[in-house]
C-alpha cells in the first residue's frame, strides 16, 4: 500500500503519509488528546508540529502534555516523560484524567473495525480457541467510551474492515442507531475512521460508517473492495485535500529523527 504514489502537481506522497496527514488535520489546536501508540501517535504529533501547537498529548503511561521530538516506540518512552508538563501515575491517568471526563479526543488504532466502528484488538476466531491471539484491550475500551470523541486510524483491507467482529474489545456504535447512548456510554463515539484510502464517518442516524472522503488518486471502487461489507458512500463525497509541503516535510522530518534515534519506526503499548 505504501508503494502507492500519486502525482498531484509537484508533490508525491505515500498512502500512509496522506492517512497520517488527514488524521492529523482532524485534531484542533488546544484539544486534549489521549494518544494511542503507533499511527495515532504519529498523527497527533504531526498535528502538534504543524497546525495545532497547543494540542495537549496524554499517554496512558502517565505523561501529560508530552512534546516528543522523536516518536515514542512504546507508550512509556523516556522522551514522553522528559518533554511532558508533568508525569502522573498510570492509575491517575485513567481515573482522574480519562474517566474524569477531561479528554476531548481519543486517538486509537485497531486491528479490526466493523461497520458501526466497534474495535477488535483481542482475538480472531473463537475467544477460547483463538485463530490469532491479538495483544488485547490495553487502554482502548475506556478511551473509546470516555473520550468526548474518538478518531480511529488504520489501514483499510477486508481483513481489517469486517461486517461483524469476532470480538468487540472497545465500543463504537454497537449495533448502530442509538445503541451506544442506550448503553449509557458517556463519550459521543468515533467521529471518523481515517485510512490509507479515505475517511469514513458515521451516518448521523444509523451510525453506519460511510465513505465521506477519498484520498486523491483512489477510486470509490478501491475503497469498497477493501471493505468487508457493502460500504455506503456519502452523496457529499469529497476528495481529501492533498498534503501540503510543510505537512509532508514535518512528517518526514519526524520519521527521520525517529528512525535515527530508534533504528525502527513502529510503536506499541507496553
Amino acid at each position: 500500500m505504501d508503494a502507492l504514489k500519486t502525482n498531484t502537481g509537484v508533490l508525491e506522497f505515500t498512502a500512509t503519509e496522506i492517512m497520517t496527514v488527514a488524521a492529523s488535520r482532524l485534531l484542533k489546536d488546544g484539544t486534549v488528546c489521549f494518544v494511542g501508540i503507533g499511527l495515532p501517535s504519529t498523527a497527533a504529533n504531526l498535528a502538534r508540529l504543524t497546525h495545532a501547537p497547543d494540542v495537549v498529548l496524554i499517554y496512558e503511561s502517565g505523561p501529560i502534555g508530552a512534546k516528543p521530538t522523536v516518536l515514542p516506540l512504546s507508550i512509556g518512552d523516556g522522551e514522553l516523560a522528559l518533554t511532558a508538563d508533568t508525569v502522573v501515575s498510570t492509575p491517575e491517568i485513567f481515573r482522574y484524567w480519562l474517566q474524569g471526563g477531561r479528554i476531548d479526543v481519543g486517538f486509537l488504532g485497531a486491528a479490526q473495525v466493523d461497520r458501526f466502528a466497534n474495535i477488535n484488538t483481542t482475538v480472531i476466531g473463537d475467544y477460547a480457541n483463538p485463530k490469532v491471539r491479538l495483544p488485547g484491550a490495553g487502554g482502548a475500551p475506556e478511551i473509546a467510551s470516555q473520550a468526548k470523541e474518538v478518531f480511529i486510524v488504520l489501514k483499510q483491507s477486508t481483513k481489517a474492515f469486517v461486517n461483524k467482529l469476532p470480538f468487540i474489545t472497545s465500543a463504537g456504535y454497537l449495533d448502530g442507531g442509538d445503541a451506544r447512548e442506550k448503553a449509557g456510554i458517556p463519550g459521543k463515539g468515533p467521529a471518523a475512521v481515517i485510512t490509507d484510502l479515505g475517511i469514513l464517518t458515521p451516518d448521523p442516524v444509523t451510525r453506519e460508517l460511510t465513505l465521506t472522503s477519498v484520498h486523491p488518486g483512489v477510486t470509490v471502487e478501491q475503497v469498497k473492495a477493501a471493505t468487508g461489507w457493502d460500504l455506503k458512500v456519502s452523496p457529499d463525497l469529497t476528495t481529501t485535500a492533498v498534503p501540503q509541503s510543510h505537512e509532508l516535510e514535518a512528517l518526514r522530518d519526524l520519521l527521520a529523527h525517529t528512525a535515527k534515534a530508534h533504528g525502527q519506526s513502529a510503536g506499541g503499548e507496553g
Binding site: L80, S89, T90, R133, A171, G184, I185, G263, G268, G270
Partner: protein, 288 residues
C-alpha cells in the same frame, strides 16, 4: 523492613512456587534481572500479574514458570506479537496458561484497590465491550445513591510484587521517578515486595512529593545496576530498542527461545554474568 540483600537470596526467600507475583514497570524500569532470577531458580505454578506482559513475561512464560496470567495488553511494544505468550495460550507450550484479561483502566484500578485493602475496584468501564462475556471477574454494581451501573473487578493483592527503581538509600528507602506507572500501587497491594535498584546512595535527596517507598513497606532491596535492561532507567540508560526487535526472531521458535534462555539465563549465575554473556553473543552476532 527492607533488607539489602543479593537478588538470588531475595527471590529464593520471598517468592514461593504457586505465588501470585506481579512484576511491574510501564515500559520504564521493567525488572528484567529479577525476572531472569525467577527463571534461573525454576519457580513454578506462578500466577503472573502485569498490565503489559511484554518480553519479561514472554521469557518467564516460555520458561514454564507460570500457570496463569492476569493482564491487559500482551505484545512486544512497537514490534508485534509475544510468541511465547501466544504459544502458551494457543498451543499450551511448554504448559497450558490460564489467563484472565482486563483493560488497562480496570487493572490500574484493581492495583489501587489492592493497595487500599479493598476487595474490589469500581470503574466506569467495559460498557459495550465483549470482555465481561469472557471474564466472570468483571461484574456490574449499582451506585447506592444514584442507581448508576458501574463495573467492578476484584482487587489485585499479589503475594509478591517486584519492581525496579533508580535509587535506594542504605537503610532501604526507595526513590523512583519519570514514568512511575502502577509501581507504587503494585508494591503496596502486595504482601511482600522486592525492589531492584540502579544505585545505593547515602541520601536519597528526593524532591518534594516524590515517589518514595519507605523501607518498612518493602521486604528486600537488591542492588542490580542495569537490572531493567533492555527496558530503561531514566537518567541512567536508554531502552535498547534493537533488543526488542531482536526478540521477535529469538522467540519465534521454541528451539531458538530455549537456546537463548539456557545460554543467557539458566546457565548464568546471576545478572552480572548475564551481562557478560549477552555482550559476547551480541558482539559475535554483529560480527556475522
Amino acid at each position: 523492613m527492607a533488607r539489602l540483600t543479593p537478588l538470588h537470596e531475595a527471590v529464593s526467600d520471598i517468592i514461593q512456587n504457586g505465588d501470585t507475583v506481579a512484576l511491574e514497570g510501564f515500559t520504564h524500569l521493567i525488572p528484567h534481572a529479577a525476572g531472569h532470577e525467577i527463571i534461573r531458580q525454576g519457580k513454578t505454578d506462578l500466577t503472573l500479574v502485569r498490565m503489559t506482559p511484554d518480553l519479561i513475561y514472554d521469557q518467564i512464560i516460555g520458561s514454564g514458570c507460570a500457570s496463569k496470567l492476569i493482564f491487559s495488553w500482551g505484545g512486544n511494544p512497537g514490534v508485534g506479537s509475544l510468541h511465547r505468550f501466544r504459544d502458551a495460550i494457543e498451543q499450551g507450550w511448554p504448559r497450558p496458561l490460564a489467563y484472565e484479561e482486563h483493560s488497562h483502566a480496570a487493572l490500574a484500578n484493581a492495583y489501587v484497590a489492592g493497595a487500599s485493602n479493598l476487595p474490589f475496584a469500581v470503574l466506569r468501564g467495559y460498557t459495550g465491550s465483549d470482555l465481561p462475556k469472557v471474564n466472570p471477574n468483571i461484574r456490574f454494581i449499582e451506585c447506592p445513591f444514584t442507581g448508576e451501573k458501574l463495573a467492578a473487578i476484584p482487587s489485585i493483592r499479589p503475594d509478591v510484587t517486584v519492581i525496579h527503581a533508580q535509587k535506594a538509600d542504605r537503610r532501604g528507602n526507595v526513590l523512583l521517578w519519570g514514568i512511575v506507572g502502577v509501581q507504587k500501587e503494585a508494591v503496596l497491594a502486595a504482601k511482600r515486595a522486592i525492589v531492584t535498584v540502579e544505585e545505593v546512595v547515602d541520601e536519597l535527596d528526593a524532591p518534594p512529593n516524590a515517589c518514595v517507598l519507605p523501607r518498612w513497606a518493602v521486604a528486600a532491596v537488591c542492588h542490580v545496576p542495569g537490572g531493567a535492561y533492555p527496558s530503561y532507567a531514566q537518567d541512567y540508560y536508554e531502552r535498547d530498542n534493537r533488543f526488542y526487535q531482536a526478540w521477535d526472531a529469538i522467540s519465534r521458535s521454541r528451539e531458538a527461545f530455549t537456546a537463548w534462555i539456557d545460554r543467557h539465563v539458566r546457565n548464568t549465575a546471576d545478572f552480572e554474568e548475564f551481562k557478560r554473556v549477552f555482550a559476547e553473543t551480541t558482539k559475535s552476532k554483529e560480527a556475522v
